[in-house]
Amino acid sequence: MNRIYKHRLFWPVLSLLVLIVVNTIARPQFIEITLQDGRLYGALIDILRNSAPLMLVALGMTIVIATRGIDLSVGAVMAVSGAVALTIIDRSGSPGAVGTVFVAVIVAILVSLVLGAWNGFLVSVLKIQPIIATLVLMLAGRGVALLITGGFITTVNSEPFAFIASGYVLLLPVAFFISIAAIAAVALVERRTALGVLTESVGINPEASRLAGVRSRGIIWGAYMVSGTLAGAAGVIYASNIKAADANAAGLFIELYAILAVVLGGTSLAGGKFSIAGTVIGVFIIQTLESTILFLGVPSAQSPVFFAVVVVVVVVAQSQRMRGAIARVGDAFRKQDAPERDDEKVEVAR
């Protein structure tokens, strides 16, 4: 039991479970999943589907944060990516063709990769502080997206494109499978190669890593490229969901939610050790919280306050100091109630 309690994913998982339980108590149908026309429906399925863009962005953010960096430009990259994809589909002769959509998506993601490489260049080669380097693109990116769409919200009617966000395969939403694929790809690359350890090493102690011969430039550069690419894919999903490229609204504030998801998942903003599983849970916590706000009918004007209150509670509960305090209070109570049990504990500890 003690080992479970000390596991670093204990608190994130507990927070998520508590949120689900609270929702279920408030409205039992929250947990219901129904099967209709070969598709699963329900609040939980919606969470899986709607969390996809944040999931992709947060995965990239995890890697960047592990290198002691941060990527504020992810929302703007999403906007650019959506604008590129929609513009290609819109201008093509056959917006409904699978080939058109395929080309549009690939080009959009490649453009995002280039934007990520730009961030990585500023940070790893020119040694500009990550927060400033990515701020540049955060501010400029939406302008670029508006430039691409000509200042309008481009909308398209394309069955295959809409399928990305709204389609179903094997009972489940396509977007969810994209999430799974991204999680698996990032986890495989980081943990099946040595990239994860070298990334952590660079994040924990850059100078020691340099002396050990680690190519920190390439590792940091790569992290921003991954972040840009995943943000681009997130931008495609977002655009597919609304069937439009909205340069102002796409991915707005998503960088902040992504950072929050990473932190909720137990990865320190100081860099170093990172947890992909933690980030996944962090994303689900945020998405469940958003659903909760809808579900409990919190008026939209007050929802940011409600969101903030819950986040503060979760973050405070996870903090080392608070945990220490809780443990001390717990000990004090136990001593009062049953002093003899204390001896037992000592025995066990031996």
């Binding site: 099946r192 190669t193 040595a194 990239l195 350890v197 070298l198 952590e200 090493s201 924990i204 102690n205 100078e207 020691a208 890593s209 340099r210 002396l211 050990a212 011969g213 680690v214 190519r215 390439g218 590792i219 170093g272 050790k273």
Partner: protein, 506 residues
Amino acid sequence: MDQAHPLLELTGATVRFGADAALRDVSLRLFPGEVHSLMGENGAGKSTLIKAVTGALRMDEGELRLDGERVEFATPHEAQRAGISTVYQEIELLPNLSVAENIFIGRDVGRSGLVSRGEMVARAREVLGGLGLTDVDPRALLGSHSVAVQQLVAIARAVTADVRVLVLDEPTSSLDVDEVAELFRVIRELQSRGVAILFVSHFIEQVYEICDRITVLRDGVLVGEYLTRELLRIDLVHKMLGHDATAHRERENPSADRPEGEVLLSARGLRVGQSLEAADVDLGKGEVLGVAGLLGSGRTSLARALTGVARADAGIIRIEEHAVDLDSPRRAITLGVVYSSENRLRDGIVAELSVLENITLALQAERGALKPIPMDRRRELAQSWVDALDIRPADLDRPAGLLSGGNQQKVLLARLLALSPRLLVLDEPTRGIDVGAKVEVQNLVGELADNGVSVVFISAELEEVMRVGDRVAVLRDGRIVDTLASGELTADALLALVAQPEDEGE
């Protein structure tokens, strides 16, 4: 002066960081109107002691008395209010504010907390004038003044009307001769006001010029307190570096038996900034070159230039007769040249990674991120090093930062040895580690040399350098003043070479 009561008295000070004690049962006395020097090599515990006195660090044990009354400071601010001010090595002023503003930051000026500009400038002028700094304009931006003036402004800031103890941590390291003279004039001015000054510097000449009394620390322990005029320079150096009478296994295959002429590395005319000048180094295969020198003698610059950590500004390095451009540690590693930093925690161990990950880090980095060493191979490799070097606890998955200093050093050595290097440059590998581990490291160097690995062994402990090295290069003031076979050296002769001050030379 001894009859007077000490103004500040520290007794039994002990500070622990995890398993290591940085300070063990150390005492310090400061009398009013004296300049007192705190001497010791890197890691002797000087900074820790300063922090304990100025409230920047809490002591685990020990007692601090100010004017005979027991005091405890939780923060530097509390210490400052009690009259203990500190000026740190790195100037912590704001270059974009005026001199007057810098002097009064954090002080209470004006009744309402609002600061009247005119009053501030007038009072700054007063403070500066009190220190004889009449030619410094309090309205000018601090950044427009020289480093020396900035240093003096930092002191002016520390000197409030009620300052009683002033701690100066390496105040002269970035000053030239005239500037040092100016600083000393200010110090004497304060001394005449009855302020007790703790002067920390590794410049022995300056210590002898200004200080009345010297406290020497070594490895976190008090060596003694001496009157400067009664302590010969050579004895001071001896006390700082210390004796080390531990068992050392004789080399089975001393270099005298080796055939001459197999040169691995030769360096000519290496220059690194101000710290190393025209250094020539020759190193045979399987040879151990000891490097002896005080802190600031250029010993670390030499090590870093030889290993690509800091590119030399001038000079040429040849490895097996090929000129090489060592522009990064990575390049040096591919040539078989590896470096172990004197600063284990900052430049060595990746504290939150496990022992296993730390040991395999450099090897993995050399192979590239995409070619992972298979997990069972990594464990086997790490385990073999843990066994070979007797790393304790023998837990591969423990974060390396939780190990003791000696074991961290061994982990670091294992990381480098896993690369099968041809040249190992060890910068103070035995500093701050316990005696047993020290001997193990020394013996390991001998074994490596027997197996054909060349080693550059830098240490502040002269006897260690002599015992481990086949030859000893003596560094002083950024120059290699001599290179001698260690068999021909005695401890006293080496001490004299290391400590010899400029003006007594030749």
